[in-house]
């Protein structure tokens, strides 16, 4: 199985209305917006019926709750890691006292037996608020937690942004053509696929030939040369972002292996000086010793993990290949 995680801490600016709600919640209160004779929660920036802008631009905010009445609800018997509780709880539509519309939120009721439509609930506020909707939750009336915070005046600046860490786990079996490719790398071989329909050699094979739209099988596997020509490269000055581990400039190259029709892309080059590196340069793979080749990070998505199996690409000293002829094999 291969595992990957797509994760990023998004920072959302709230604008004045959601900001006012999150600020109030941070301070142990809940607000709604009075629009067209109704009090809406969550508050909205505009007329919910016509979507027109509000007269005067911003809604009248009114304090509601902290008590409320439960409408339809569900009992979450198997919470996900993204839910507010790691034990069973309810999601419910809750109409806060003073509001005309219901907010969807979580009720920490302990047991499904405590839940009924029409029951009364009370808001609870996080002792250490972080300026997010998760600073709030609900409990059945009479079950208020002593650790719940009392409302306070809000002497700190209003909430204008809220952070949301999104983290997705991706797990899947390595597909058959990738398993064979991985085994090849362990054996010191680069396995591609030759399409009999187009005659092209794709490397790494993708299990199909996109030009002729035919599926390729194990019978189409071919062992490619581990020697080739640089067909394109970029010198990367790393931009810093969440999860970025690179700090120093480095080269990313495309290499067209001899006999192949598609370049290896994204090949990491760390030990050939930038000034010497060029399109057309002839290079040869220097494999890591058998037993030190690691394909554990190979997945179904990305071209290769060359640096884990190939120690480096060494200039062969041969005369350069024609750069113009390599242009159409850059990507």
């Amino acid at each position: 199985m291969t595992h990957a995680r797509l994760e990023f801490p998004y920072t959302r600016t709230t604008g004045p209305v959601i900001g006012a709600l999150l600020t109030a919640i941070r301070d142990g209160r809940i607000v709604g917006s009075r629009i067209g004779g109704r009090v809406l929660c969550p508050p909205m920036e505009y007329d919910p019926v016509t979507a027109d802008a509000l007269v005067g631009g911003e809604p009248e905010l009114v304090e509601i709750g902290p008590g409320g009445t439960v409408g339809p609800w569900t009992w979450v018997a198997h919470p996900t890691p993204k839910h507010p509780f790691d034990h069973p709880f309810a999601f419910a539509l809750i109409t806060l006292d003073g509001a005309d519309t219901a907010l969807v939120h979580a009720v920490d009721a302990g047991s499904i037996d405590a839940m009924t439509t029409g029951m009364r609930v009370q808001a609870q506020f996080a002792a250490e608020p972080r300026g997010a909707i998760t600073d709030l939750w609900f409990v059945p009336e009479g079950h208020e937690s002593p650790s719940g915070r009392e409302p306070h005046g809000g002497d700190t600046p209003p909430v204008t942004s809220t952070e949301h860490l999104i983290s997705l786990e991706i797990t899947e079996p390595l597909l058959a053509h990738r398993v064979r490719f991985a085994q090849g790398l362990l054996d010191g071989k680069i396995i591609g696929q030759r399409s009999s329909a187009s005659g092209m050699v794709f490397v790494p094979g993708r299990g199909y030939d996109n030009l002729e739209r035919v599926l390729l099988t194990e019978a189409d596997d071919v062992v490619c040369s581990d020697r080739g020509s640089v067909s394109a490269f970029t010198v990367i000055t790393p931009v810093q972002y969440y999860g970025q581990q690179e700090t120093e400039p480095y080269i990313r190259a495309s290499i067209l292996l001899d006999g192949a029709d598609q370049a290896l892309i994204g090949v990491d080059i760390r030990d050939i000086p930038v000034a010497e590196f060029r399109v057309g340069m002839r290079v040869q793979a220097v494999w890591r010793p058998e037993g030190e080749r690691d394909v554990s990070e190979l997945d179904n998505r990305w071209g290769g993990i060359w640096e884990h199996v190939i120690e480096r690409w060494q200039p062969t000293g041969e005369p350069d290949a024609d750069p113009r002829a390599l242009e159409k094999y850059s990507f």
Partner: protein
């Protein structure tokens, strides 16, 4: 509703028909890439129609990067679609039923006659429940991990509280769907369960039990549509595909508020409106395929579509088993169209309705009316 569109329903100037369909079987984990699933569908359509890739003048696909967990995953899907020589192409991050809607209107321009519509999704690598929570309002809902299963549970409870349905009604939907799926080679869940046996199962997200939820599926589907005489020419004498064009008589989609607190979850006014605009009630309905991702949704949709009162008594609802038997996300709605079209194309039904939805609690709904020549 907008007064300017409320008067008369749109009837297309040009007759456009589905002339061929393809789908992969739904599977819990499809052992190949998403482009390869698409490629199988595209090649199957070309084989069935005798058309060349270059005959397909407009291409449009629906898929979702978040399912595969890779931004720009839709770009590699093009490998399966075919784009050399370059093609006139578009992509929606919606169920491919919406891609069909765009393609149907695109053919109304009159300059091109044939289009291919593709939907694909591999839900197996990710955790769909966590992924789908990212559809919800990013300020007040998504940070709670508010998932579509929980929201469907709330909708189910709303039906119970309003005495519109019982848990046995939910189980009846599941039992019938799974039994129908026994005849569907593409179904993932097909079995004969009694209502009592289903009701004996524990709750997953009360009032929903695990069987009230769709399976996690990988799959792809595609159709070719063609205008007027071109549609007749493609189906004429076809030995493997449709023996007659399946005309799209009407299609419409509508959305509702994203905030459940601003909606009556026991109703689907967007489906009602789309059904009127699509002309559902202008004739008898032999077959209906509804995108029932969660069993309570069938109750809501039947009410919104006026079944069974307005339809003929023998309307066959979800004869394929529907999404409860196989849910290839991003293609699920298009598969509903395909299941209806297949029956009309084969001559076993004359007029039918396909429905697709998007968003939590049936927030957005599309209705399509299909009909064969007499």
């Amino acid at each position: 509703m907008n007064a300017s569109t409320a008067h008369k329903r749109y009837v297309p100037a040009r007759d456009v028909a589905i002339v061929a369909t393809a789908q992969t079987p739904c599977s819990r984990s499809y052992a190949d890439t998403e482009p390869s699933m698409i490629m199988r569908c595209v090649n199957s359509l070309l084989d069935d129609t005798g058309l060349q890739r270059s005959d397909l003048e407009f291409t449009i696909a629906g898929s979702c990067d978040y399912l595969s967990g890779m931004p720009f995953a839709f770009v590699s899907n093009i490998d399966g679609v075919g784009a050399w020589p370059p093609v006139y192409e578009s992509h929606v991050e919606m169920d491919a039923a919406w891609a069909l809607h765009e393609a149907w209107l695109r053919l109304q321009l009159g300059d091109i006659d044939v289009a291919i519509v593709i939907g694909s999704g591999k839900s197996s690598p990710g955790r769909p429940r966590e992924v789908y929570a990212l559809q919800t309002d990013p300020y007040t809902m998504a940070p709670l991990g508010l998932d579509t299963i929980s929201l469907a549970g709330i909708q189910g409870r709303a039906l119970l509280d309003a005495h519109v349905a019982t848990e046995a009604d939910f189980a009846e939907v599941v039992s019938r769907s799974r039994r129908s799926a026994l005849a569907n080679p593409n179904a993932q869940v097909a079995r004969d369960d009694t209502i009592d046996a289903l009701l004996a199962e524990p709750y997953f997200s009360a009032p929903l039990r695990r069987h009230d939820l769709p399976p996690i599926s990988d799959g792809a589907a595609a159709v070719i549509i063609a205008a007027g005489d071109r549609a007749r020419a493609i189906t004429d004498g076809s030995t493997v595909g449709f023996s007659r064009p399946v005309w799209i008589r009407g299609m419409d989609h509508r959305i509702e508020s994203h905030h459940p607190g601003l909606r009556d979850l026991t109703q689907s006014p967007s489906t009602e409106r789309a059904a009127i605009e699509a002309g559902v009630h202008e004739g008898g309905i032999d077959v209906a395929e509804l995108m029932v991702n969660y069993s309570p949704e069938e109750i809501v949709l039947r009410r919104a579509l006026g079944f069974p009162s307005l339809a003929t008594d023998d309307t066959d609802i979800n004869p394929s088993g529907g999404p409860l038997a196989g849910h290839p996300v991003m293609a699920t709605g298009l598969v509903r169209v395909i299941e209806v079209a297949n029956r009309i194309g084969a001559g076993t039904a004359h007029r039918g309705v396909a429905h697709a939805s998007s968003g939590p609690c049936l927030q957005q709904n599309l209705v399509c009316v299909l009909e064969g020549d007499r």
